[in-house]
């Protein structure tokens, strides 16, 4: 087996919601990097495609206590229950058009393989997948500006964020050329990470303790005692994942010092949040 693939990566992301200003640079950079087609009417959200989408959350209080937070949402690259690679979308795809890369932790999407049944869109709890209702229409001359590293999609297939996988392929190519075993942290960064003006997005290998994303998230190697399907829960009390208790094990983590923001990451019954909020991985039980 190849040297580079011997070491399993687990690429992930942590987004600091206290730093995010909601400027939308990540959305724009994502669209141009990945040849995402834009529509005549981008306000038609049933048609528009946004691999990275910024949501606006409020704490629901009236002035002067109103607070707003912007939440960028790429594909969460779920590891599935127990982090075994059975992501919700991967397990329902009848065409094997999407698979879980055990060497990178990235959920792929192969457009030429997809036949557009949209099961994966139904299975995805994060609405991260989008369907091409139409063939992309580029303004005249713009085809020449498309990235050759990302294949454009056709009508009738599903697409989603790939963690800019082509940048990983390019970084690996460079490593092969130099005769190196592995790539450096800064060699593979997603477009949204590099575009964020406030540095809210940190991207790297969750399996590598030297990477910044690992330092911030401190993923718990043991299953969460409250739900053994949840693996890799953050031991940082300010870090949470979206709908974490489903056991989808996303590789996108969110960071906020504000409690209401962390609570907004999931749905809780009355009083449930107070019981659960201080469980941060197995360390709190140690």
């Amino acid at each position: 087996m190849n040297k580079i693939e011997n070491k399993a990566h687990k690429f992930g992301m942590v987004i600091d919601l206290d730093k995010c200003t909601g400027c939308g640079s990540c959305m724009v950079s994502c669209m141009s990097e990945n040849n995402v087609p834009f529509k005549e009417d981008e306000s038609n959200k049933k048609d528009s495609i946004t691999w990275m989408r910024v949501y606006k959350l409020t704490n629901g209080k009236s002035f002067p206590d109103t607070e707003i937070v912007y939440l960028p949402r790429p594909c969460q690259h779920c590891g599935g229950k127990g982090d075994h690679g059975h992501s919700p979308c991967v397990s329902v795809c009848p065409a094997t058009a999407t698979d879980y890369g055990y060497d990178t932790g990235i959920v792929s999407q192969i457009y030429t393989r997809c036949f557009g049944c949209r099961y994966c869109m139904g299975a995805c709890p994060y609405h991260a997948r989008y369907f091409n209702w139409w063939d992309p229409k580029w303004p005249e001359g713009m085809e020449k500006y498309l990235s050759p590293d990302v294949s454009p999609r056709m009508r009738g297939v599903v697409e989603k964020c790939s963690f800019c996988f082509h940048r990983y392929q390019a970084a690996k190519d460079k490593a092969y050329y130099d005769g190196r075993d592995d790539i450096e942290e800064d060699e593979y960064q997603t477009a949204c990470t590099t575009a964020c003006p406030s540095g809210a997005i940190v991207f790297g290998d969750l399996n590598n303790p030297a990477h910044r994303v690992h330092e911030i998230v401190k993923p718990d190697p043991h299953p969460w005692p409250n739900n053994p399907n949840v693996v890799g829960k953050s031991r940082n009390p300010n870090v949470f994942r979206l709908l974490e208790r489903l056991g989808t094990n996303p590789k996108v983590y969110y960071l906020s010092e504000r409690e209401w923001v962390r609570k907004a990451g999931d749905n809780y019954l009355d009083g449930e949040w107070d019981k659960i909020k201080n469980h941060h991985g197995s360390e709190s039980h140690g």
Partner: protein
Amino acid sequence: MSKKENKNESGSAESAGECTAGDTKDDKGLGLGVIFFILAFVICFLSGTLLFPKLLYSKKEQPFNFNHELHVGETGDCESCHAIREDGSFNGIPKLAKCQECHTETPLGETEDEAVFTEMYVAKEKEVPWYVYSRQPDCVFFSHAAHTKTEGMDCVTCHGPIGTSTNLKPYEENRITGYSREIWGQNIWGIKKHSWDRMKMDDCAECHKKETGHQGYCFQCHK
């Protein structure tokens, strides 16, 4: 229905003594059927083998002929022209600037192709619009660096003995997919004898399974 029955009845009544004659008639029909079946099979088989590829593929001639054997002899190896760039990507068919390292506006040889090249392209500083036999579909990512540099594979393993050829064969394009015939392979039944006969995903996966123990995840070769 009743008419038919009547006919049969009357027929059987009439030909009571011609029973044997009726049997030979049936045999004749069977024999004709067999001959017809074989004939039809042969016609279908031959048209599938000979006619179908001509329908499926359109033939295009390269701008002019290129003698690989001659150039390998002059430059030494494949990498002199088809090289991996410093960033790890592959340059594919070299641009005109690479050719101009040797070729000037005065022809190096006396062939007609050399004359076409110098007049039409070198003198006019125009890139040669080569058809690429091994062009893969848009969704495919292939790392030459991983295969030739890290794993030390020979170019021949996938591309065949192009380096010893003196002529460029016509480029055949699949009329439905727009892909080169090299992807499916020259054999219309998909039979391959050498590792370079086909360039389908199955062929990549087959070798990956053999060499690495795993055919790889989608994103290893897709983009």
